[in-house]
């Protein structure tokens, strides 16, 4: 809507930029401007047609070398953007702007090339321009390839990376069209822009240009790689390897073959040279080359083999991990990689993971590495983090059954605790004893391994070790947390827990009782969380009856105790865990226990008194969970029919206090949760009504109040449904749902207002009849319309009344003071306001529009940007002084 204004402002902005680029409001302004322009281009418009002033701007800026470098850089990028379309390109060339703009010598002579922002502008301009064959022609003719290759090893990392991207773009974007068989691959690799813009443009000229570029780049790659082994060349080698990885990942077979033919030998030389710091990029190349072809290339395979055979254990391990992650399923190498990755575990634990053949050639060097503390921990962690991946392999690729891996991990965990009955490598033990990092990794792996087939036999061992970890006074809180997670995982996966009954009943409950009293709140928190999760673990009825389960019955007292914890996180977790523990009771609709009553009153106390938001949020989530589980398990609701002593009635009775406490909370998240609870109540009350659509994802109900809503079920029971409506509505009013929604609507926090507004619209569209004067009123609709609610005299009530008053004035176009006072008098007199009437006159739809926009939508609009630039420059010229301090950051 402000496009016209933008068009009128832009010339002045250009003027400002030309004259005083330094006075920009902030250093992202130009970027934002550029974003706006590229947005316009992507939308299909022609920039020059829409904003002819830009041409003038560019030609002035590039001619005037005294301009601010940032503005020049901006102009360079902008020219590239304009030249991206053939029309734009031609226009720029006609005005002979293009030659000068991208003339690198021009900038060098002006002494500006030293500035990295000019270089990056140049590169990005070239990169944006290269979208059509004319641009390619220009690129080759002007011999841009030489400076671009130089920039590839620029001292500025940003410049170097951009140059790399551009080089890759040239080769990939213009790679020759393919035979039909491979077309699909290319399209999926993102060159569809090209096919769309230039359907089938492959002139002989383009081919010629392209091969020139290809030759230049290949020569460069070949030449630089060979010289790349010196330390000073490390940076260059790394850049080249990155470029290669970029290229190989997306190159079509002809190009890929050509590239591989060129670089295979130098690459192999690099691999054998064994420079550790080049290993990761080399591995990237191998993986990229592998991923882009369906048939493995001989050269790539050879490279991979030699990487998996390097002499340095750490490099070998990394290569194996990278290979495994790439997801290639080349049997020979997978087997090799798995063996490499399992070797450290095999050495430390002494478990024969790799079979009887322990004469592994690299074993000795690995043992040596493991004896050093730092390398040991990192290598063991690499090995562990890849173990879950290994266990997903088909069994014939593994050197041992999964159960052996599990027992090796257990053995490692025991060693970490200082206990080692297994005969591993004792010299390495001291490096992992007490290492929290290794412990955490191993526990994570153990959790992952729970679902592997055939490992259930280890359950007793697993539980024993985990309890040992939980019991160990030296265990770090995070280690304890992970142990709990692993334990829950194993217990939920194993159907038959009879083998560990004793352990669970005696040792686990003992340790849990102790950890609930721990000094560190993190530990108490994880323990409480664990109790909740334990209750949620599916279990057979038999075990519940046995009482072998350490959950529910024994944990509830501990959790109740935790409700008084001095740390709010723990209180919050305790509330959540109680919800999970007691969920069973709700579902069965059992009779109300004293315990439940106590807990509910305690929770209401927390909601009204706790000083920390976490705990209060948790309380609301507790009730939400309870309510939704009730809704899904009991037959349609009606508070009056359930027996007064059931847990359900307790819930219903407490709802109105929760809603009123929750909506008066200071924390916006608590308020949103309150609205979520209100939504559940709405769901319950309105389900079965005509036009009711459930769920927050559904768009707000039809904007047009008279729109016909197709509904197959409700037409027949229209009459009855509407009389129900009145009941449902008054029920909602009574429970405080409507008040909660209204107070949310005028809340100062946007998420709260939005949510409330959506719910109110739903309510209005479902339940309120259209205004009386437009339709003939049935007795039923009249009943609905008569349902009223009270607005409190202050707070949100006053806000709502203000809106109502203002809207009324707008509509009636009258400013009758007497009328307003009468209305206010009406509100204060505690007379109810008709809900339906109110819902219709609150202007909810307009409000929703406002609330749906992000709070910075005004600030982020192009118009605002242009205005800002103008204002800043005005302020700048008026005050006529330099901004105090400038922070120059190498960030383009």
């Amino acid at each position: 809507m402000d496009r016209g204004e933008c068009v009128s402002l832009l010339p002045r902005v250009c003027e400002v930029l030309r004259d005083s680029g330094r006075s920009l409001p902030d250093d992202t302004s130009l970027e934002k401007l550029l974003d706006w322009f590229s947005g316009l281009t992507e939308a299909g418009g022609s920039l020059l047609e829409a904003h002819p002033c830009l041409l003038e701007f560019i030609s002035t800026v590039v001619n005037k070398t005294s301009s601010d470098p940032d503005v020049i850089s901006f102009a360079l990028k902008l020219s590239g953007l304009i030249a991206a379309t053939e029309d734009g390109f031609e226009t720029l060339q006609e005005r002979s702007v293009l030659d000068l703009t991208f003339n690198q010598r021009h900038w060098q002579e002006a002494g500006l090339w030293e500035d990295p922002c000019i270089r990056i502008g140049w590169i990005q301009g070239v990169r944006s321009m290269l979208q059509h064959s004319k641009a390619l022609g220009f690129f080759v003719q002007a011999d841009f390839i030489v400076p671009l290759l130089q920039l590839q090893t620029d001292s500025s990392l940003f410049v170097a990376a951009a140059a790399n991207q551009t080089l890759a773009h040239v080769l990939l974007f213009f790679q020759p069209a393919l035979s039909a068989g491979c077309n699909g691959t290319v399209k999926s690799q993102g060159s569809d822009t090209r096919t769309r813009e230039h359907p089938g443009v492959t002139t002989a000229e383009t081919d010629h240009d392209y091969s020139a570029v290809l030759v230049a780049i290949s020569e460069y790659l070949k030449g630089s790689l060979v010289r790349g082994e010196e330390n000073t060349r490390l940076h260059q080698s790394r850049q080249i390897l990155k470029l290669l990885a970029l290229l190989l990942a997306r190159a079509a077979p002809p190009l890929r073959d050509k590239l591989l033919r060129t670089v295979a030998d130098p690459l192999e030389e690099l691999v054998t040279a064994g420079c550790s710091r080049l290993m990761p990029p080399l591995m990237d190349i191998v993986l990229a080359a592998n991923s882009s072809s369906s048939v493995p290339d001989q050269r790539v395979t050879r490279l991979l083999s030699s990487m998996l055979n390097t002499n340095k254990p750490a490099d070998r391990l990394r290569a194996a991990a990278a290979f495994l992650h790439s997801g290639h399923r080349d049997t020979v190498h997978t087997v090799r990689a798995v063996r490499i990755l399992l070797l450290p575990l095999d050495i430390i634990t002494g478990q024969t993971l790799l079979g009887a053949d322990t004469s592994e050639e690299h074993r000795f060097s690995m043992v040596e590495q493991l004896k050093s503390k730092t390398t040991c921990v990192s290598m063991v962690c690499v090995c562990l983090t890849n173990t879950p991946q290994i266990t997903l392999m088909p069994p014939d690729l593994l050197p041992c059954p999964l159960v052996v891996i599990v027992s090796a991990v257990l053995s490692l965990l025991r060693i970490c605790c200082g206990d080692s009955s297994s005969g591993g490598c004792a010299e390495v033990f001291r490096n992992v004893i007490g290492s929290g990092k290794v412990q955490k990794c191993a526990l994570e792996v153990l959790a992952c391994l729970s679902s592997s087939p055939g490992v259930k036999d280890e359950l007793t061992e697993v539980v024993t070790v985990l309890i040992q970890y939980l019991n160990d006074p030296d265990s770090d809180p995070t280690v304890i947390h992970k142990s709990y997670q692993a334990l829950v995982k194993w217990m939920s996966v194993c159907e038959d827990l009879s083998s560990v009954t004793d352990l669970l009943r005696r040792d686990l409950s003992e340790v849990v009782r102790k950890r609930v009293c721990d000094m560190r709140w993190e530990v108490r928190d994880s323990t409480v969380e664990f109790l909740g999760k334990l209750a949620a673990v599916p279990k057979s009825a038999e075990e519940t009856r046995d009482g072998t389960w350490p959950g529910s019955c024994s944990s509830a007292p501990l959790l109740r105790e935790a409700l008084q914890d001095p740390e709010s996180y723990v209180r919050a977790s305790a509330v959540a865990a109680l919800a999970q523990t007691l969920a069973r009771g709700w579902q069965q609709g059992a009779a109300l226990t004293q315990e439940q009553t106590d807990i509910v009153s305690r929770l209401l106390e927390i909601l009204s008194q706790d000083t920390e938001g976490f705990a209060r949020r948790a309380v609301l989530q507790y009730f939400i969970a309870w309510f939704s589980s009730r809704a899904s398990h009991t037959s349609p609701p009606s508070s009056s029919t359930t027996s007064s002593s059931s847990s359900s009635s307790l819930l219903v009775n407490s709802v109105s206090s929760i809603l009123s406490l929750g909506s008066a909370d200071l924390d916006w998240e608590v308020k949103v949760h309150t609205l979520e609870l209100a939504e559940l109540l709405l769901d319950e009350a309105l389900s079965g009504h005509r036009g009711y659509r459930k769920g927050p994802e559904t768009p707000p109900a039809p904007l047009h109040p008279y729109a016909v809503v197709p509904d197959r079920t409700s037409t027949l029971r229209m009459q009855g449904a509407e009389s129900d409506s009145a009941g449902a509505l008054s029920d909602l009013v009574e429970r405080g749902v409507v008040s909660a929604l209204l107070s949310g609507l005028v809340d100062c926090d946007r998420p709260v207002g939005l949510k409330a507004c959506q719910l109110l619209i739903t309510l209005r569209d479902t339940i309120c009849p259209p205004p009386l004067e437009t339709l003939d009123a049935t007795p039923a609709t009249a009943t609905v319309a008569r349902v009223s609610c009270e607005l409190p005299a202050c707070g949100w009530g006053r806000e709502i009344r203000k809106i109502l008053g203002a809207n009324k004035c707008d509509k009636a176009k009258e400013a009758d003071v007497a009328g307003e006072t009468r209305e206010e008098g009406k509100g204060e007199g505690n007379d109810g306001v008709s809900v339906c009437e109110m819902l219709r006159s609150l202007g909810l739809d307009a409000r929703l529009d406002v609330l749906s926009q992000s709070s910075d939508h005004v600030h982020n609009s192009p118009l605002s940007l242009l205005q800002d630039i103008l204002t800043a420059s005005a302020a700048h010229t008026r005050q006529d002084m330099q901004p105090g301090q400038e922070v120059i950051v190498d960030c383009y």
């Binding site: 200082g418 160990d472 006074p473 102790k514 009293c517």
Partner: protein, 658 residues
């Protein structure tokens, strides 16, 4: 330099260092683990203990009805508990000049050493060490004396009988040296020999060595000692801690550049991290209280208990234990709690600053003010009227053999709701509990030992770099129960010298230099001559005077004029003329130049022969040999004195004279 090792206990050391004619005893720890072989001493008559069956050997041959009782499969001596003293036969204790005490736990054998052995020296210790050490001794005596036992069992110590006894009794060593507790009088007498020192104070011992205590960070007033002469430095490290608990932090830098470092008193619980144990202590305590049980903490009346109380102070509110009473029962409870508040200069910096504020340095003062912590001298009297359960009781002795703790064991042992939490690392908790079996009470072992662990000590040694390290042999190999834990031992280059009870070590360095003073008038008479740039040499004739290990050069006294003798006159012989000393020669004769000189003097036929030490010049015409060696020159020339003299002069030309 020799080290005599009188105790085999690594944390209760007793060593004697002979260094530069001084004999210094380093600590005198009392090994109290021997009391575990005895039956507990109940304060109140215990029917259970009195009904224990006597032990009879299988064949019934040995019957020590009065001395040995059996309880839960183990045999205990029914007698006043006895302690294992430091070795007294290795050297004559009366020759000891001084005793240096490093902390109050390492002085408990002091009365045995200073009384009845002829000891006449001085004991050095810091003030808190003395005062708290006195409290601990007083407590020990009190524990023993208030439950007197008439008989002293000795028959079982008979070698023939002991060999037939079961279990740990059979393997107990040196049982004949075990002694009953000392008396208060002996304590007072022993402590009267203590001289107080402050950190870094230098104490001269007979002018030969200087000793000074350094803060060791382990307990109030605990110290390490530096023993040094002008050229040698020995550091004695005993019971040190790098943790930030209540005492002043450890002074590490002063330990640098030692020739020998004697390392004792490392943590007895290398695998139990004190922080983890403290947390464990608190959670077990809270768990028991919440379940309605009582908690018993057997502990010493000073030391870790201050940290425990401080930790509990913070924990009480968190765990909503605000209403649970805490009792501290010890004959010296009051003094211990009060003392800890007044030793300002010995506290860590954080607490030191609090001494000058209205707020007391230790939070236990607040616990006492708010009536959360109450202290009593014993279970009799006020305590019995205030006693409320569930509660937490801190009381001694950690061995569970004597003290008020015995009573609580009898009282609470039968209920599984109650918990005993061991925090002192000195006794094996299983052995301590043995005479109380069967026991229903829960038992938790949270040994809190803040002394250096192996990781810290290897860092420390890397920093202070002593030339040699001496330590108990226990530190040179992993603990028996964890033989694979190579991280739980000292690994040094060169390897440390291990010692055990009764070993005598020759410390591997020799006294190489002594400092000697020259009196000014003598120094004035010296005529130095420069032999190398910067090095001058002078000859000196003087009398060496040594006293109190100080050596002084004094001028030679003029011979007194002969006293005129009136009685008899005799022709006195001329007193022998004291020849002026010949000048000292130095330097070497350069061969080429010497040959050239010989040639100049007409000696041309010279045959040079190379030998192992130098050269032999054969002057063939003169039939003379000149042997030029590193430390001497000989001219062998028969009956040609003029030639010899001239040759001598030629040689002398090349040498420097003093």
């Amino acid at each position: 330099m020799k080290l005599y090792c009188l105790s085999g206990h690594p944390t209760l050391p007793c060593n004697v260092l002979k260094f530069k004619s001084t004999t210094i005893m380093l600590d005198c720890g009392l090994d109290t683990t021997s009391v575990l072989n005895f039956l507990p001493l109940p304060l109140v008559h215990s029917p259970r203990l009195s009904k224990l069956p006597s032990w009879v050997s299988k064949d019934g041959a040995v019957n020590l009805e009065k001395e040995l009782k059996e309880c839960a499969g183990r045999v205990f001596v029914d007698s006043q508990p006895e302690f294992c003293l430091p070795e007294k036969e290795l050297l004559d204790l009366s020759t000891i000049d001084v005793i240096l005490i490093s902390n109050y736990h390492c002085m408990m054998a002091l009365p045995y050493i200073t009384e009845h052995t002829g000891f006449t020296g001085t004991v050095y210790a810091t003030e808190p060490t003395l005062q708290i050490g006195r409290l601990l001794m007083e407590e020990l005596v009190n524990f023993m004396e208030r439950v007197p036992k008439a008989q002293a069992a000795t028959c079982w110590k008979n070698k023939e009988i002991q060999r037939m006894l079961p279990g740990p009794l059979k393997d107990a060593v040196d049982v004949w040296t075990w002694k009953r507790s000392y008396s208060m009088q002996e304590v007072n007498s022993a402590l009267s020999k203590v001289q107080l020192v402050g950190y870094s104070q230098k104490v001269e011992l007979f002018g030969a060595v200087q000793v000074s205590p350094l803060s060791s960070g382990y307990s109030l007033g605990s110290s390490n000692w530096i023993i040094q002469s002008h050229h040698e430095k020995v550091s004695y490290v005993s019971g040190s801690s790098l943790l930030t608990t209540h005492p002043q932090p450890m002074d590490q830098s002063s330990l640098k550049n030692s020739d020998v470092l004697i390392l004792t008193g490392l943590t007895q619980m290398p695998t139990a991290n004190p922080d983890g144990m403290l947390a464990e202590f608190c959670s077990n305590l809270a768990m028991t209280i919440r379940a309605g049980g009582n908690v018993l903490v057997p502990c010493y009346s000073s030391g870790v208990i201050y940290d425990l109380l401080e930790c509990l102070y913070q924990f009480i509110d968190n765990a909503s234990l605000g209403t649970t009473p805490f009792y501290f029962i010890s004959p010296v409870a009051n003094s211990s709690l009060e003392f800890s508040q007044i030793f300002a200069e010995w506290l860590c910096h954080n607490k030191q600053s609090k001494v000058y504020l209205p707020e007391p340095p230790f939070p236990h003062a607040e616990l006492i003010q708010t009536n959360k912590l109450k202290h009593y001298p014993s279970i009799h009297g006020d305590f019995s009227s205030d006693f409320r359960q569930p509660c937490v009781v801190f009381t001694g002795h950690p061995s569970l053999r004597f003290g008020d703790v015995v009573h609580f064991m009898e009282l609470w042992g039968k209920s599984s709701l109650n918990t005993i939490i061991f925090t002192e690392p000195d006794f094996s908790y299983l052995d301590a509990l043995a005479p109380y079996q069967p026991l229903a009470m829960k038992c938790v072992y949270c040994p809190i030992d803040t002394r250096l662990n192996f990781h810290q000590v290897s860092k420390l040694l890397k920093e202070v770099q002593p030339l040699h390290v001496v330590c108990p042999e226990q530190y040179t190999q992993p603990p028996l129960s964890q033989s694979h834990r190579s991280d739980l031992m000292l690994e040094l280059q060169p390897p440390p010298m291990p010692y055990r009870r009764c070993s005598v070590l020759n410390l591997p360095f020799r006294r190489r230099y002594e400092r000697i003073y020259i009196l000014p008038e003598l120094a004035n008479s010296l005529v130095p001559s420069e032999i190398k740039p910067g090095i001058s040499v002078a000859t000196v004739s003087a009398v060496l005077h040594s006293k109190d290990n100080k050596h002084t050069l004094q001028s030679v006294p003029k011979p007194p004029p002969a006293p005129p003798s009136k009685k008899r006159k005799r022709v006195m012989e001329e007193p022998p003329v004291v020849q002026a000393p010949k000048p000292l020669l130095s330097g070497a004769v350069p061969l080429e130049a010497f040959l050239a000189t010989l040639k100049k003097h007409g000696i041309t036929e010279v045959k040079v022969e190379e030998t192992a030490d130098g050269h032999i010049l054969h002057l063939q015409a003169e039939d003379t040999l000149i042997q030029l060696e590193e430390d001497g020159t000989h001219i062998v020339c028969d009956n040609n004195e003029p030639l010899r003299t001239s040759l001598r002069d030629l040689v002398l030309r090349f040498l420097q004279k003093l």
